[in-house]
């Protein structure tokens, strides 16, 4: 479907722009980042609705998962990517899994995330993109002790839609909800007015 293909292309272009803007001189530009995220959201919505038309979509979260403020020296304080962009997740290093399980209230998935093994839930968010686009360097996330690495098919740029979950395995010693306090605290709400 042509709209589908265009949406994918726009998403790919947007991701690379967002990626490039982090190394821009003068720091992240809020206005530009906001506009990029809006385009990405439109493209993602169009892609989703076109996939819905095609066939039953996989039970994947289509929700707005808030973007994490990764401790990145290039970002300004209190300045995460303005709009939640799950499609970005595949390019972000070491995504905080704690966010997706704590703020799951608006996900549409039917599977019981809480009781899944961490082996199934690797640290990369699988919801939107199962692999990094091949034009970006792949980043491997750091694993918690006890977690296994879920081998994702790299090199194929697949957009949100059908991602086959691996077979469930027995929960190991580290269930998902036992995140370290550090991980939870890392997401600090931006409060108050500062000039």
């Amino acid at each position: 479907m042509e709209v589908n293909a265009e949406a994918r292309r726009i998403l790919a272009v947007s991701i690379s722009k967002l990626y490039a803007s982090r190394t821009q001189r003068g720091g992240l530009r809020l206005h530009r980042s906001l506009l990029l995220s809006m385009v990405m959201r439109s493209a993602r919505d169009i892609y989703h609705s076109s996939r819905e038309c095609e066939g039953p979509a996989g039970a994947q979260p289509a929700s707005e998962e808030p973007m994490d403020t990764t401790p990145n020296p290039e970002e300004q304080p209190g300045l995460p990517e303005p709009e939640p962009q799950p499609a970005l997740n595949s390019t972000e290093p070491a995504q905080e899994e704690s966010d997706s399980s704590e703020e799951d209230s608006d996900t549409e998935i039917t599977e019981d995330k809480e009781n899944l093994s961490p082996a199934r839930q690797s640290r990369k968010r699988r919801g939107k993109a199962s692999a990094a686009p091949d034009f970006l360097p792949s980043k491997r996330a750091r694993l918690e002790p006890g977690e296994e690495r879920y081998a994702a098919p790299l090199g194929s740029w697949r957009l949100p839609g059908r991602v086959e979950p691996p077979p469930l395995s027995l929960p190991p010693s580290l269930p998902p909800q036992q995140r370290s306090a550090e991980q939870r605290a890392e997401k600090k709400p931006d409060a108050g007015r500062k000039v």
Partner: protein
């Protein structure tokens, strides 16, 4: 700095129809070779023209006095002063480089012999004083002509230093530095009609300063949400009303303009007027939000209208009518079908400015291929002109250009696909009283004038 008379292209100008035929008056050689001009501004008398560039420099041009011997030659603009306004800085706390690029220059009206302007980069506003010195004191007691301290034992008499004429020197000194008030990038500054205060605006906040006080500013607009993830719009520009010192307007990335009255409350988060045109659903695309983002907002000189520029149009709003603009002008609607490519090459993020002429009858804005457009609000005629070296020969009259939007291309027309998108005119300014315009085309400054016989 010496007052330099840079030899510029000279043109004798003659024109039949005012306001839509312009001729090159002068074109400055790129004073700083590869540096891109990032702002241009006439002062309130039109005698001076300031440009700021990406390298943090400000170059001020001054109009030559008309000479009796050559009455036909209207005053050309010569370089008057050049100074380094801003330097690159490094914010150690955030590990961010702060660009020295001059985002905006605003002149203060002249109140004495010196000239004052405000210049800003992303984080810091500075007040510069530009003054002439044509005398210097000579005959000091304690130091000799070179400035070396004299041996006191050789001083046998007392004398009073006398002011002697010297070659004219133009000096620029930073009189105030207004810093540390903006977390985000400053996009605009505006001097109040009270001539005592000014505002500086970043993506989320508008701050009010007193020109005399640098260690304090008042935040008067703050649209930062408690949770940054809920951010949906940013402020793109703000300007004071030209006559009412209590009124200012700010534009947003969503295509709306808010008018605020500072008498209502200390914090002007509540607007007193809200201007927005409902979106036309038939033109909706992936890029609707980007192209509706307002890149510039300007009050008319008479204070009755507002003009806004978004990616494809210029709109004139009546301050009394909030639900739709009074007039909409298509700048380059042929780009509507090319938005995807313009997104890929980043052009869709270009921020074009717009400007009124002195009588508010004509508006002007830039486009690509070094084209700029003028719209006559009364006659409803518009013209496309080009700023290029070929057009700036002496005695040349600027020929109107036309973009061919499909079908047969006429001889003089240019097709959309042949447009050079790297040549963009983002910054223009119009003399406050006369039909003289200055147009920045990357690193070249073009000054055009029309002259009625």
């Amino acid at each position: 700095l010496r007052k330099a008379g840079v030899k510029l292209n000279d043109t004798d100008c003659f024109v039949q129809d005012h306001a839509d035929i312009f001729l090159p008056l002068s074109r400055s050689a790129s004073c700083v070779a590869a540096d891109i001009i990032s702002t241009v501004e006439f002062n309130s008398s039109g005698e001076l023209l300031a440009t700021g560039d990406k390298g943090g420099r400000v170059v001020v041009f001054q109009r030559e006095q008309e000479s009796k011997s050559q009455p036909q030659r209207r005053g050309e603009y010569n370089v008057y002063s050049t100074f380094q306004s801003h330097e690159p800085e490094f914010d150690y706390l955030k590990s961010l480089e702060i660009e020295e690029k001059i985002n905006k220059i605003k002149w203060l009206p002249q109140q004495n012999a010196a000239y004052f302007l405000l210049s800003t980069n992303d984080k810091t506003v500075k007040l510069w004083k530009i003054s002439e010195r044509d005398k210097r004191p000579e005959g000091y007691n304690l130091k000799d002509e070179d400035g070396r301290i004299r041996n006191p034992s050789t001083i046998t008499s007392l004398r009073v230093p006398v002011l002697q004429p010297m070659d004219l020197m133009v000096e620029a000194t930073a009189r105030r530095v207004f810093s540390n008030a903006h977390t985000y990038h400053i996009n605009s500054i505006s001097v109040n009609s009270d001539l005592q205060t000014f505002i500086s605006t970043d993506d989320l906040r508008v701050n009010l300063w007193n020109l005399e006080i640098t260690d304090r500013s008042f935040n008067i607009v703050d649209i930062k949400p408690a949770n940054m993830e809920e951010l949906t719009e940013v402020i793109t520009s703000a300007e004071f009303h030209p006559q009412h010192c209590h009124t200012f307007a700010y534009s947003s990335s969503k295509g709306s303009i808010r008018l605020c009255d500072m008498r209502q409350a200390a914090l002007c988060d509540k607007h007193c007027k809200y201007f927005e045109e409902p979106e036309d659903p038939s033109t909706r695309s992936f890029f609707s939000e980007i192209i509706s983002s307002i890149s510039d907002v300007k009050f008319s000189h008479n204070g009755r209208y507002l003009m806004t520029r978004d990616y494809l149009t210029v709109k004139v709003w009546d301050l009394q009518m909030e639900n739709k603009p009074l007039e909409t002008y298509q700048v380059h609607d042929y780009l509507r079908g090319k938005l995807c490519s313009l997104y890929e090459n980043d052009c869709i993020f270009d921020k074009f400015e717009c400007v009124w002429n002195g009588s508010d009858s004509v508006i002007m804005t830039g486009s690509y291929n070094n084209f700029f457009r003028m719209f006559d609000r009364n006659t409803k005629r518009d013209v496309t002109l080009e700023a290029s070296r070929e057009n700036s020969k002496p005695r040349a009259i600027l020929k109107p250009r036309k973009v061919c939007v499909g079908g047969k291309r006429r001889k003089d027309e240019i097709s959309v696909d042949s447009l050079d998108f790297s040549k963009k005119i983002l910054h223009t300014t119009w003399h406050p009283h006369e039909n003289i315009i200055a147009v920045a085309a990357t690193n070249n400054l073009y000054i055009f004038q029309d002259k009625v016989n």
